[in-house]
């Protein structure tokens, strides 16, 4: 039977059995709606986790072990020679050494801050990073210009989010954008600590200027040019010959594990605390998404059972009709195809309804979240990321569920004895 004719015949039957088929399609719609909804929600929540804990799949942070063989045989140092060896490891594309500011520093701000009076004293934690690590994110030159000049700094993007969502509302401060803050200059006292209540003899005052926001900058603290930190540490008599850590970028994500293994073989360690946290949260989200998706699949499977019952009833009701079709030349395959096309149409209707249901549900949850949930850091515009693949998957499962539900009834219909079918009551 040609597809166009098959569809014409199926269409008439679908119109006649509209009520029953809508009930069947409704069951599929519920299952598919839940499936697409949960998949999109899982994707959306994972995106939020990614925003909070951005993890590069190509990078590892190398640190010196806290306690190790090196401690007894002589202190292991992340010096230039070791950085060069790390840079030369197979699979390593780049190595970015980081140097901690090894003296205390505070900032004290008294004055107007974007139109509001601000009086603030903060202990600063700083680390030096190579300019090329954050160069893409800095909107102004990120280079040390020497003593007496403001030192450029870069902040983590998440810092701004936390300021806007937590710090600013609690203190009546204005909400800021990165564009507003770039170029903002504030004083810093190097060699002084409010917490320890001490001031080093060489302490001096200078200025910091914010030049950009970057995901590569540590969340806790400010990132300064490596040369600036080296210069300040030297001025205070601190060690300038070793780095605090080295960020290694692999040539591709596949090579990260071999790079990590080589690093450990060198007696060094990987600082994976943030990465592990992100991975654990991501895995938890993944697990919940899979569990909810399985639940949705179960609902769809139940819908398939409902479709099977509906189509068995259809076959019983249409037995004589099937006999007539066989009498005028329909093959067993034609009869089965007709029922399967009707099932596929039911599945498509259920799938479309389900996808619409998921979108509507997502929209409703987002609307509720906008009004009912307080503003918190990284609160997304939407908790859902609907992707084409989710819709295709939903439609595919809807059709598959309908076809599997109708498979046995269709087979039973095809196997009906035409002579008996014609005399069925």
């Amino acid at each position: 039977m040609r597809p166009a004719r098959l569809w014409r015949l199926a269409r008439g039957n679908l119109a006649r059995e509209l009520g029953a088929l809508l009930v069947s399609a409704g069951g599929v719609a519920l299952g598919i709606g839940c499936l697409v909804f949960f998949l999109a929600m899982g994707r959306g929540v994972r995106k939020v986790v990614g925003d909070v804990f951005p993890v590069s799949t190509r990078e590892v942070e190398v640190v010196v072990p806290q306690v190790g063989i090196g401690s007894f045989l002589g202190e292991m140092k992340l010096d230039e020679a070791l950085v060069a060896r790390l840079r030369a490891l197979p699979g390593v594309a780049a190595a970015y050494p980081r140097l901690a500011l090894r003296i205390p520093a505070v900032t004290r701000y008294n004055g107007l801050f974007f139109g509001r009076e601000l009086h603030m004293g903060l202990e600063l934690v700083g680390s030096g990073v190579p300019a090329d690590l954050v160069a893409g994110d800095a909107r102004m030159p990120f280079a040390d210009e020497g003593e007496g000049k403001p030192i450029p700094i870069v902040l983590n993007r998440r810092f701004l989010e936390i300021y806007n969502k937590v710090f600013a509302p609690q203190r009546g401060l204005p909400t800021l954008t990165d564009t507003m803050l770039v170029g903002f200059q504030f004083p810093v006292e190097l060699g002084r600590s409010y917490v320890a209540g001490k001031t080093l003899p060489q302490a001096y005052e200078t200025a910091l200027v914010l030049v950009g926001f970057s995901d590569r900058a540590p969340l806790a603290g400010i990132s300064l040019p490596l040369e600036a930190v080296r210069r300040i540490n030297a001025r205070f008599g601190q060690d300038t010959g070793s780095y605090t850590s080295v960020l290694l970028r692999a040539q591709d994500s596949q090579k990260v594990s071999s790079v990590a293994a080589a690093v450990k073989k060198m007696g060094l360690e990987l600082d994976e605390s943030e990465r592990n946290r992100a991975l654990q949260i991501g895995a938890a989200v993944e697990l919940v998404t899979v569990a909810l998706s399985l639940l949705a699949t179960l609902i769809t499977a139940l819908a398939a059972v409902n479709i099977a019952q509906a189509f068995y009833a259809e076959v019983r009701e249409r037995t004589r009709e099937i006999g007539v079709m066989r009498a005028v030349g329909a093959t067993r395959g034609d009869v089965a195809s007709l029922l399967l096309v009707e099932a596929a149409a039911t599945g498509i209707a259920g799938g479309v309804l389900g996808v619409l249901l998921a979108f509507t549900g997502g929209w409703a949850v987002d609307a509720l979240a906008r009004t009912a949930l307080p503003d918190f850091p990284f609160k997304p515009q939407s908790f859902f990321v609907f992707r084409g693949v989710h819709i295709l998957l939903g439609m595919g499962i809807a059709i598959l569920a309908a076809l599997s539900g109708a498979f046995f009834p269709a087979r039973a219909a095809a196997r009906l004895d035409p002579a008996r079918a014609l005399t069925a009551e």
Binding site: M1, R2, R5, L6, R8, L9, G12, N13, A15, R16, R320, E321, G323, V324, M325, R326, A327, V328, G329, A330, T331, R332, G333, D334, D417, P418, A419, L422, T423
Partner: protein, 234 residues
């Protein structure tokens, strides 16, 4: 192939016993029948003698029998399901006592039903309109079966059987559910088809139908015999 449209040789059919240990119910003992091209054969018999079963076997709808059944020279035993379907589609028209129209389709679409299957029907729409005109229902083409009278439904069923222009028409009590006047219309139509060269085998209780046939057979106790009381008029 000789000129016979239908050939039965030693046709036997029986049903399994209703109770364990019982005897099989024998429907046909060893039927022999030849129906030549252009014949109009009426088959009479009391209820339960197997008239409808005979039609189902001739149409390849029932394959549980012993013996040889040839339609237009083709042994039905040697045909698989698609071949049997193709034979029914192109060579055999069926008319049933209870019309058996599809309620979801209009009269015209019901007539077009064979066009949905196999290779379809050439010039299907023209032929369907022609078939509806033949049975006098051109004005009812778009009507649903529920909007038609019993006689009109049967005429739509006949138009459906004629649309593929099959050489053989098998009819099972075509006037059984119709009043006398409407039934006569069907008989007249069958006579006209007969005159146009179609081969008809009609199972009937209707004496007028039998009188219109060219040959009348009686199915009794599993055997076919010429009707001793009637001779076909055509």
């Amino acid at each position: 192939m000789n000129g016979n449209v239908i050939e039965l040789r030693g046709l036997q059919k029986s049903y399994p016993p209703r109770e364990p240990g019982g005897a099989r119910t024998e429907l046909f003992r060893a039927l022999d029948l030849e129906v030549g091209r252009g014949e109009f054969v009426a088959v009479e018999g009391q209820s339960g003698t197997g008239k409808s079963s005979l039609l189902h076997i001739l149409g390849g709808l029932d394959r549980e029998y012993a013996g040889e059944v040839k339609i237009l020279g083709r042994d039905l035993r040697g045909l698989d399901d698609p071949e049997l379907s193709a034979l029914r589609h192109a060579q055999i028209g069926f008319v049933f006592q209870s019309f058996n129209l599809l309620s979801s389709l209009s009269a015209l679409e019901n007539v077009l039903l064979p066009d949905f299957f196999g290779d379809g029907v050439p010039d299907a729409h023209a032929r369907a309109s022609e078939a509806l005109a033949t049975v006098g229902l051109s004005d009812k083409a778009s009507a649903r079966p529920t909007a038609l009278s019993g006689g009109e439904r049967q005429r739509v069923a006949i138009a459906r059987a004629l649309v593929a222009k099959p050489p053989l028409l098998l009819a099972d009590e075509p006037t059984g559910n119709l009043d006398a006047r409407t039934g006569q219309g069907i008989i007249d139509l069958f006579q006209r088809l007969h005159r146009e060269g179609m081969t008809l085998l009609v199972v009937t209780h209707e004496k007028r139908m039998s009188r219109a046939a060219s040959r009348v057979l009686v199915l009794e106790r599993g055997e076919l015999a010429a009707d001793p009381t009637l001779e076909g008029s055509a």
